[in-house]
């Protein structure tokens, strides 16, 4: 039995104090010191049933790793991941299988996610074989209907991955994720590898799926405009920490954290008449091997205070319900 954590009954996924570190170099001699990089530095998330949460940040901030931890591709160094009231990593055997069936994962690279030698329809119903035994005829029918629901035809199913276009491949991957009727879908940069014209189609497909099946969604991306369009709330990550987290309405219309502000103000708007203040961030993301002291953003932060290099700010709830990790916000100073 998993540990039951007190959660609101409509929380599907709750992540608390999640940490992940990776060993930096292979240890050759026993007396060498181990050095780690902390990819995830203690984050909290919660997603309600039917909600869509966006997880954004630049490359290397750790957002993909969060997904992999939930999917048990890597094991967390610390913290808990609670799904439906149960601690995921403490489940075993059949229970684990049943629970994990409900959590599906969509990959970033649709070509890599498909076996080049197997026709796609077989790959779509493979999860059914794994979980339910062999009933190929039934599965075939079901696969075809899922294919159609993602906008493809039965004839596409008989093809090999390389015979399909990028957008079609991604639809196949989505179909495969949907075949087990999951409650929770994690999408790890599902549109980055696609042509721009296809991206919006796939995003609309996600919206359709979400609305039709009432699936809870964790949408990871570095494309803020898509996240704004698709999700209900968003968490912004920087170097392994969540810096701002809240409802999309609030976040996108009025970003508060300096990092979020810079990101959102950088989103191109197709109307040249609207003038905005664009903050150009200086410097580059520091290496994770030597993270800055205190707040990890402080070297690039336009409003950094002396305190910022000493202590790390906690994610605190602000007046409008969102959360942010910044001393300038929690100490009573609000800009704009």
């Amino acid at each position: 039995m998993g540990i039951a954590i007190k959660t609101k009954t409509n929380d599907l996924l709750v992540v608390k104090e999640l940490e992940k570190k990776f060993l930096l170099k292979k240890i050759k001699m026993p007396w060498q010191r181990k050095s780690y990089i902390h990819v995830i530095n203690g984050i909290d998330l919660s997603i309600k049933k039917g909600e869509s949460l966006g997880l954004v940040g630049e490359s290397g901030c750790g957002k993909s790793t969060v997904a992999k931890l939930i999917m048990n591709i890597h094991a967390p160094t610390a913290g808990s991941i609670v799904y439906n009231g149960r601690e995921l990593n403490s489940l075993k055997g059949d229970e684990e299988k049943k629970t994990r069936r409900n959590i599906q994962y969509i990959f970033q690279d649709p070509m890599g996610a498909l076996n080049p030698r197997i026709p796609v329809i077989e790959q779509i119903y493979e999860p059914l074989i794994i979980h339910y035994g062999r009933d190929i005829k039934e599965y075939y029918k079901k696969s075809v209907s899922v294919l159609e629901s993602v906008g493809l035809k039965e004839s596409h199913g008989k093809m090999y991955p390389h015979q399909l276009s990028g957008g079609q491949r991604q639809r196949v991957v989505i179909a495969r994720a949907l075949i087990l009727d999951p409650d929770f879908l994690i999408c790890d940069e599902p549109i980055s590898a696609l042509d721009v014209s296809i991206q919006s189609q796939v995003v609309n497909l996600f919206m359709k799926i979400r609305d039709e099946r009432n699936i809870t969604l964790l949408f990871i991306s570095h494309d803020l405009s898509m996240v704004r369009h698709l999700c209900d709330s968003t968490a912004v990550m920087y170097m392994g920490n969540i810096v701002e987290y809240g409802d999309n309405e609030l976040l996108f219309n009025n970003p508060l954290h300096p990092y979020t502000k810079a990101l959102i103000n950088a989103i191109p708007i197709p109307d040249p008449r609207i003038k905005r203040e664009v903050t150009i961030l200086e410097g580059e993301i520091p290496s994770l091997q030597n993270p800055p002291s205190g707040c990890r953003f402080h070297p690039r932060c336009p409003v950094a205070q002396p305190d910022c290099s000493i202590k790390e700010p906690e994610l605190t709830t602000l007046f409008d319900g969102r959360r942010a990790a910044c001393f300038t916000l929690t100490q009573g100073r609000f800009d704009e």
Binding site: Y105, F107, A113, L114, R117, Q123
Partner: protein, 292 residues
């Protein structure tokens, strides 16, 4: 010479590039098929039993030479046994040993490689150490030590043959399995709960199969060479069984008077290994050009 890279001469799929090659490969394939056929049907097509002696008709030359006799097309050996029949049976045994050896080697080597890739850690380190150890030692020495000192047992011999080159398979299988583990579809299979065995059989092995096959075609001639060499030295297949190496070895005693006893089996060996090498190169070019 500069044309080599400025005119991209590497493209070997140009028509004239392949026409000549195609003929050679065709001949090689034909020879091998002929050998396989002989090996299969030896008991049926051999005119005599390979052990049948005729002490009156010893050391007869082949039928087209002086003193030859149509009843023994390739002549007879020192015990009056028919050379043609002995040749057929020897082909059969040599091929059998080589094929079995190649298969055993491929299976054992790959399994070891997969095991190392799956378990990582200490297991992996140990396996790699064994692989390095094996690769840095000429197999002949080990083989000699093992075979000649144990009772001459054909199963042991096939076993020793079967380990010739395992380290190559292990290395490839491990490398390919490791890179396969990084593939998206393997991770995907894991995320929807596939068991490791299912993953290996359904997703990793088929993609590894090509390289394995090429390896096998490259290994096969080496095995034939090893077996015939050892049999030639008297350390391999023992009488009454006969292999191509034995034939050359026995024939050597009569090389001055009955040179055909040596030439015919020697040329057979040479043509077989040559054909296999040609075929192996062609297979490699088709399936996996990244191997050298």
């Amino acid at each position: 010479m500069q044309d080599t890279i400025t005119k991209n001469k590497r493209i070997t799929t140009s028509p004239e590039g392949y026409r000549g090659k195609g003929l050679l490969v065709g001949i090689a394939a034909f020879w091998l098929l002929a050998m396989l056929f002989i090996g299969f049907t030896a008991p049926l097509i051999a005119p005599y039993d390979f052990q049948e002696m005729d002490l009156i008709a010893r050391l007869l030359p082949p039928a087209w030479m002086d003193g030859g006799n149509v009843s023994h097309i390739f002549g007879t050996d020192a015990m009056g046994r028919d050379n043609l029949s002995r040749l057929f049976y020897s082909i059969r045994l040599s091929l059998l040993v080589a094929i079995l050896g190649t298969l055993i080697c491929a299976v054992i080597g790959s399994t070891i490689g997969f095991v190392a890739a799956h378990f990582r850690g200490v297991v992996d380190e140990t396996v790699m150490m064994l692989v390095d150890f094996q690769a840095s030692l000429p197999y002949m020495i080990l083989a000699l030590a093992v075979i000649a000192f144990f009772e001459n047992n054909i199963f042991l011999f096939i076993g020793v043959m079967g380990m010739y080159g395992w380290e190559m398979y292990a290395r490839f299988a491990r490398g390919l399995a490791l890179s396969a583990q990084e593939q998206g579809y393997v991770i995907a299979a894991k995320t929807f709960g596939a068991s490791p065995i299912r993953i290996y059989l359904r997703h990793i092995l088929p993609n590894v199969g090509n390289t394995l096959l090429v390896n096998m075609t490259l290994n096969f001639p080496k095995l034939i060479m090893l077996e015939t060499s050892l049999s030639f030295l008297g350390l391999g297949i023992q009488p009454p069984n006969t292999s191509l190496g034995n034939l050359v070895g026995f024939g050597r005693d009569h090389i001055l008077t009955a040179w055909w006893l040596v030439i015919i089996p020697a040329m057979t060996i040479f043509l077989t290994t040559l054909s296999m090498s040609i075929l192996g190169d062609w297979t490699r070019d088709k399936l996996d050009p990244t191997l050298k």
